[in-house]
């Protein structure tokens, strides 16, 4: 998506084939991080103890276009797997975003509400949306092991979230796609 912005900025947009190529290049190389779990609707979840951090993927922000508005739930709200937790607007399209897991919202990323363009600007970095508290942690220990093995540098992620949710059923994490399944899904 950085290439697309370059094209736009330098007026190359008018030359559609060049801009399209740049956009395709950006989309072809959309970042999929191996340590996250993904929903088919292009949201990601990252476990952090009994809380899951939620945001939308790089593929999603590329498909949306420049984000101008982000609507997130209140802290304390309940989110349900597969149901809308917020709205993101781009190109005059208000698109629902869906929670990949269920639980209670413990934190929202106000920085995204204040500066919606952050949803596009940095893959995962400032793009987390909510944090959701997990209710049981059966899947957690396996994921923790995986994270340690992958030696995740957590700081780029920490800023890229939308909401943090206290999970009510961490088993739901097992229903999500891992990064390679998600990449395959995006290629469709």
């Amino acid at each position: 998506m950085a290439l697309r912005r370059f094209a736009v900025q330098f007026g190359l947009r008018a030359q559609a084939p060049v801009a399209d190529l740049a956009a395709s290049w950006g989309r072809a190389f959309a970042t999929v991080l191996p340590e996250l779990k993904y929903a088919k609707s292009h949201e990601w979840a990252k476990p952090q103890g009994d809380v899951a951090v939620v945001g939308i993927s790089d593929h999603a922000q590329g498909e949306l276009g420049d984000v101008v508005y982000v609507e997130l739930p209140e802290v304390g709200a309940t989110v349900t797997k597969g149901e809308t937790f917020g709205v993101v607007e781009s190109v005059k399209a208000a698109s629902d975003v869906y929670s990949p897991i269920s639980g209670e919202v413990v934190e929202i990323n106000q920085a995204l509400v204040d500066e919606p363009a952050k949803v596009n600007s940095s893959p995962y970095e400032d793009r987390w949306m909510i944090k959701v508290k997990l209710s049981n942690t059966n899947s957690f220990s396996l994921l923790l092991l995986l994270l340690l093995l992958l030696q995740v540098n957590s700081s780029p992620y920490e800023d890229g979230w939308m909401i943090k949710v206290k999970l009510s059923n961490s088993g739901e994490l097992g229903d999500l796609l891992d990064s390679s399944a998600y990449e395959a899904h995006c290629q469709h």
Partner: protein, 259 residues
């Protein structure tokens, strides 16, 4: 060989549709589309005069006090669509595609670009050179004048709300608002562009009689709208690759059990 893709088109342009019932209808269609009990559907209509305020719109968008506008017969509603505040009314062609974007493999941007392309093509059928895909300025423009507006909602992969193309719209109503959040831009219509290009009337050659022209305008306005409708439907079906377009009547919109 691409799989056959079917679009149901329901034209309601023969009457003025009030805004709220159209939202209720869209909600029902959206639900049915999500469940798969109806196929991709395009509603084409004209609204009774109304100002609608999208997710990013606000009271700040009104130059005239909303209460006064309501008193003079305009309706005003907040709507869960993208965009700010706009006007809908007679002479304006409104198209609401209730389609499954996930099935078509379309993200929000690609979908909106398709709608803009369709409006550009439809304007082109009148010889009007319009453009869409303008970074940061969603909508369809003739020069710096806005001829078509976009404001959609995408929920569970299903689109609703859509586009509005000014054909013979009374553009004076736009003075009550900041249209689509662009205070310094003019709005225009197919009719206005054709008049200004001097191509609206047959080259009778004799310089034209203003009163006669106006009378002709009144006579041909409904035809202009009908023509625009035909172009829009064809262009929308075309940009998304629908191979089969089926005209349906209002009674056929929803599955029988829903009525």
């Amino acid at each position: 060989m691409p799989a056959s893709k079917s679009l149901r088109v329901c034209s309601l342009t023969h009457k003025l549709v009030r805004y709220l019932p159209s939202v209720e209808l869209q909600t029902l269609l959206e639900q049915h589309r999500k469940e798969g009990t109806v196929g991709d559907t395009l509603l084409v209509l004209q609204h009774a005069p109304v100002f609608t305020v999208g997710k990013r719109g606000s009271a700040q968008d009104f130059h005239t006090d909303p209460e006064e506008l309501r008193r003079t017969g305009f309706e005003i509603y907040s709507v869960p669509r993208g965009g700010e505040t706009t006007y809908h009314g007679p002479g304006q062609l409104v198209a609401y595609p209730i389609i499954n974007l996930r099935q078509l493999g379309l993200g929000a941007r690609a979908f909106v670009e398709g709608l803009e392309d369709a409006m550009v093509q439809a304007a082109g059928c009148f010889g009007i050179e319009a453009r869409g895909r303008v970074p940061g300025k969603t909508g369809v423009w003739v020069g710096e004048r806005k001829i078509g507006a976009v404001g959609v909602r995408i929920s569970h992969g299903i689109s609703s709300h859509g586009v509005a193309l000014n054909v013979t719209t009374d553009l004076s109503h736009y003075r009550h608002i900041v249209p689509c959040g662009t205070p310094d831009k003019e709005v225009t219509s197919v009719q206005r562009e054709l008049q200004q290009a001097g191509t609206y009337f047959e080259a009778g050659g004799e310089g034209g009689d203003a009163a006669k022209d106006d009378a002709l305008l009144q006579d041909t306005a409904p035809n202009l709208l009908k023509e625009a409708e035909q172009h829009m439907v064809r262009c929308i079906a075309g940009v998304y690759g629908y191979t089969d377009v089926q005209d349906i009547v209002e009674e056929q919109l929803l599955p029988t059990t829903a009525r």
